[in-house]
Point group: C2
Chain length 157, copies 2
C-alpha cells in the first residue's frame, strides 16, 4: 500500500510555480495565474487540483471535477460523475505509488470517473480498473476516453 | 502557395492501415475498423477525415466535424462551427505546406473553427490566424483550445 497523502492544492504563487514542472501545463494554469494576479481569485483558494507532496515539493497531481448528471453522456442510469485530467507524476518520483494513490482517492468518491489518458499509459489505467468507453465521435472527437464505474453503474448503451 | 490537394478520406482497409502511421491513432480509428469489419459502415463510405496524398501514400490528415449552433459554447453570435482535430503531417512530408493546406481547406468553409493543438505547435496555429480561447474549466478541462473566426464573428464573452 502506498503511504502517499493526497491533498487539495491551493491556488497561490508557490503552487503555480510548481505546476510549471508538469508536462500538461497549459491554458488552465495560465488562466489561474492571471486570475490570481488580477485578484479574481483569492490567494490560497481551492483549486480543482489534488496532489502528493514529497517533503516540500509537489511530486504528483491530478485535476478533478464533478459533472452534474444532467450532462452525463457516459453512464447508465445518468448520474453525477467525475472528470479526471492531468494526472501526472514527475519523473523523479515515479514508482512510489503516487499515481495510484491519486486515482484511488478519486475512486473513493464512489462516483463513476471518466478520463482521457495519454495513449502510452493504457497499462496503468487497466490496472486501476478503467476500461475503454465505446467511442462516439460527436462526444469524444480526439479523445480516447476511459471510464471506471462503481458497482451498480453501467456504461450508457 | 502549396500545391497540395486536399481530399475527403474514405473508410476502407487501406486508409485505416495508413492511419496507423499517425501518432494520434486511437479509439476513433479502432472503432472505424471494427465498424468496417462488422459491416456497420460500408466500404469506401466517407470518413470525417481529410488528407493529402503524396503519390499513393497518405502524407497528412485532419478530422473535421460541424457542430450545430445550439451546442456552440465558443462564439458570438452562437453559430455552427467546425471542430478540427488530429491534424498531423507524417515526419517525411513536413515542410511542404501540407498542414497549411489542410487548415486553409477548413477555413474556406467560412465557419469558425475550434481546435485543441499539441502544445508545441502553437507557432504554426498563430501563423494560421488562430488565437487562444479564454480558458473555461467546465468547458475545456485539459484542453488548450484555439479558435479561428471569419469576419463578423467574435469570441463569446
Amino acid at each position: 500500500m502506498s503511504e502517499a497523502k493526497v491533498e487539495r492544492l491551493l491556488i497561490n504563487y508557490k503552487t503555480l510555480e510548481e505546476f510549471e514542472r508538469f508536462t500538461a501545463y497549459g491554458n488552465q494554469e495560465l488562466s489561474m495565474l492571471e486570475d490570481l494576479r488580477n485578484n479574481i481569485v483569492e490567494n490560497d483558494s481551492e483549486s480543482p487540483f489534488y496532489g502528493v507532496y514529497y517533503g516540500n515539493a509537489l511530486a504528483a497531481r491530478m485535476s478533478l471535477y464533478k459533472v452534474d448528471k444532467k450532462y452525463d453522456q457516459y453512464f447508465q442510469p445518468s448520474q453525477d460523475y467525475l472528470i479526471l485530467w492531468k494526472l501526472e507524476v514527475l519523473p523523479n518520483y515515479r514508482g512510489r505509488g503516487f499515481g495510484k494513490a491519486l486515482v484511488e482517492f478519486a475512486k473513493n468518491c464512489n462516483l463513476p470517473i471518466k478520463t482521457n489518458p495519454l495513449i502510452n499509459s493504457q497499462g496503468f489505467w487497466e490496472k486501476m480498473g478503467f476500461q475503454k468507453a465505446k467511442y462516439e465521435m460527436e462526444r469524444d472527437f480526439g479523445e480516447n476516453p476511459l471510464i471506471w464505474m462503481p458497482e451498480g453503474v453501467k456504461e450508457k448503451e
